[in-house]
């Protein structure tokens, strides 16, 4: 315990670094996955390429990606950008399918009605299709966020910082408290991020929690 009290500042800094590495990829992944997922949802051919393609990307081991990327990007091996890019790739890989499925779940008659009301395609996508995809999309986003937070820990093996540093260092110096702290903080971050996304999803979709009969006059 004395290790912890002496290293609070370091734990907090690692937590900050961890978030800086874990969250931007989720955002990048979402921004890229929305148009790709929309494309997959529009055309069967695009889906046949994009969804299995994304699946294959996701099977690349993270450590291999961390090592290979500097060669491709021209970055230094210890550059945190490598981790962000690698995790963005995973995020896109997971989210393309989520976005495509979320859009496919929007009822066809609602889309037909929107077209018939006089929506142009882009506005229809932003005002009708995307908001209706939010419930399914948030479910996918939660998985990606938790995955991203846990994968950053692997980055510690190539020395990019974050909470993973605490347990690699804890192993090397045989400080169990440091190991437990690293694992515990990662878990807490993942649970917190997941809860926040769940809450945000609920706030964004008040309509999804009303069922037939709720509030209807007798």
């Amino acid at each position: 315990m004395s290790w912890l009290s002496a290293n609070v500042g370091r734990v907090l800094a690692s937590t900050g670094t961890h978030l800086q590495l874990a969250l931007p990829p989720v955002l990048v992944g979402l921004v890229l996955a929305i148009p790709l997922g929309a494309l997959a949802n529009r055309s069967g051919a695009a889906r046949a390429v994009l969804v299995p393609g994304a699946g294959i990307l996701y099977t690349i081991p993270s450590l291999a990606l961390f090592v290979v990327l500097p060669g491709i990007l021209g970055t230094r091996i210890l550059d945190p950008v490598n981790v962000v890019v690698a995790l963005s790739i995973y995020a896109v890989a997971l989210l393309v399918r989520s976005v495509a499925d979320a859009l496919a779940a929007v009822p066809w008659h609602v889309m037909a009605a929107a077209t018939a009301m006089g929506y142009r395609p882009l506005r229809r996508f932003l005002a009708v299709e995307l908001p209706l995809a939010v419930p399914v999309l948030v479910a996918g986003l939660r998985v990606v966020t938790v995955t991203s937070i846990s994968l950053v820990s692997v980055g510690a093996l190539i020395g990019v910082g974050g909470l993973g540093d605490l347990f690699t260092e804890g192993f090397q110096r045989d400080i169990p408290v440091e190991i437990v702290t690293g694992i515990g903080c990662t878990l807490v971050l993942a649970v917190l991020a997941d809860a926040l996304l769940l809450l945000a999803g609920r706030i964004l979709t008040p309509w999804s929690r009303v069922g037939p009969g709720a509030g209807r006059p007798a």
């Binding site: 018939a116 006089g118 929506y119 209706l132 979709t205």
Partner: protein, 386 residues
């Protein structure tokens, strides 16, 4: 006016959905496209607002070729009501109704005021404005759908089986509501249904289509029932078409006969004296029918009580009626149709159809024989075609 000039639609898979359709849907009228599934009725409807584009021919809305218009702008000028309403689940009822005005760049305030106005017009209470569609019944959703279609006051309305997903009682209410709205609005309505009864009830003109997208007959409902163009139309309008066509014959020539009545609570002896052929009609204090009393039910009874009555049949509205057909709801005298009169006679336990006035008071009775005589007279005078 909506006009189809030699319109065909062949889908990429080679199916010919609509085959050289020529049809004019008059301004201010309800024109029905009816037919079995696969007859191209919905495809025809969707070519009007370019949800489907014709492979051949021209569709004109108020004399303008729809293919020359910007589709989004064209559609904002054409109301559209779809089966299951197609409401936006993520928007409140009020915002759903305000959709087209907002697309037309009205201010939010003005669009919402207009939406509130329309909710009232279609009979939705203002308390529903903030609800989401999932909180409404099917019938209420359909009303929201109609309000949304009317919000920007388009001259033309397309309705694609709008009432087919609700139960029969609600459907009837919605149909009556549409006729009431239309009598005030006078929109040019193109309405698709597979239900011939709905077509007959709502249509000023009915186009019957057959498989392969061919127009089989285009006529008024009365003509369609009286003179089907071929066996397909005859079988499609159904076995009861002779009976249903009575709905279009005003009961003007039909005389009323007296009906034996007795007030509820009268002495049994009075009822016995009044009965004709073993039956007497029991009425309440305002002469409204309560039920039929068979005289054998009076054995050992002192007075006429409600528990001895046999339920009456349907009532035939003699005056201020709300029957269907062209004679409905106008002026003095017999306003119902022969169909209403015949149904009243056939459904009455005594064989006498009870005729009531606008207040529901008994004015007389008709027998099935009376109706058939009136029908024979109408035939002789040439009122009935064919």
């Amino acid at each position: 006016m909506i006009e189809f000039r030699g319109v065909s639609k062949r889908f990429p898979d080679g199916t010919l959905a609509v085959d050289h359709l020529d049809l004019v849907a008059d301004s201010g009228k309800i024109t029905i496209l009816v037919g079995p599934s696969g007859c191209g009725k919905t495809t025809s409807l969707r070519m009007v607002n370019r949800m489907v584009e014709p492979t051949d021919g021209t569709v004109l809305v108020n004399d303008a070729d729809v293919m020359t218009a910007d589709p989004a702008v064209l559609r904002r000028g054409i109301g559209y009501v779809i089966q299951q309403a197609g409401l936006f689940p993520h928007r409140t009822v009020l915002d759903n109704v305000a959709t087209v005005p907002l697309l037309e760049r009205w201010s939010r305030r003005r669009a919402r005021a207009r939406a509130a106005e329309l909710m009232e017009l279609v009979g939705l209470p203002a308390t529903m404005a903030k609800r989401y569609p999932a909180q409404l019944s099917g019938g209420q959703q359909q009303r929201v759908g109609v309000a949304r279609a009317l919000a920007a006051d388009p001259p033309v309305l397309l309705m694609d089986e709008p009432f087919s997903a609700v139960d029969p009682v609600v459907r009837q209410g919605l149909q009556d509501e549409l006729l009431r709205l239309q009598s005030g609005l006078g929109k040019t309505i193109l309405f698709v249904t597979h239900d011939i009864d709905e077509a007959i009830k709502l249509g000023d003109a009915v186009a019957v289509m057959r498989a392969g997208g061919v127009l089989a007959q285009y006529d008024t409902p009365a003509t369609l029932l009286a003179n089907p163009a071929d066996d397909f139309v005859a079988s499609f309008v159904g076995r009861d078409r002779g009976y249903r066509s009575l709905g279009f014959l005003p009961a003007a020539g039909l005389g009323l006969r007296e009906v034996p009545t007795v007030a509820l609570g009268s002495p049994a002896a009075t009822a016995r004296r009044a009965a004709v052929d073993g039956w007497v009609l029991v009425v309440d204090g305002r002469r409204r029918p309560v039920g039929w009393l068979p005289d054998e039910a009076l054995d050992r009874a002192e007075t006429v009580t409600a528990d001895r009555l046999v339920a009456g049949g349907s009532l035939y509205e003699w005056a201020a009626g709300t029957g269907e057909g062209p004679a409905a709801g106008t002026g003095e005298g017999p306003t119902g149709s022969l169909r209403g009169a015949l149904d009243a006679a056939l459904s009455s336990p005594a064989g006498l159809g009870v005729a009531v006035d606008g207040q529901g008071a008994v004015v007389g009775a008709v027998t099935a024989g009376d109706v058939l005589t009136a029908l024979a007279d109408a035939r002789r005078d040439g009122v009935v075609p064919g």
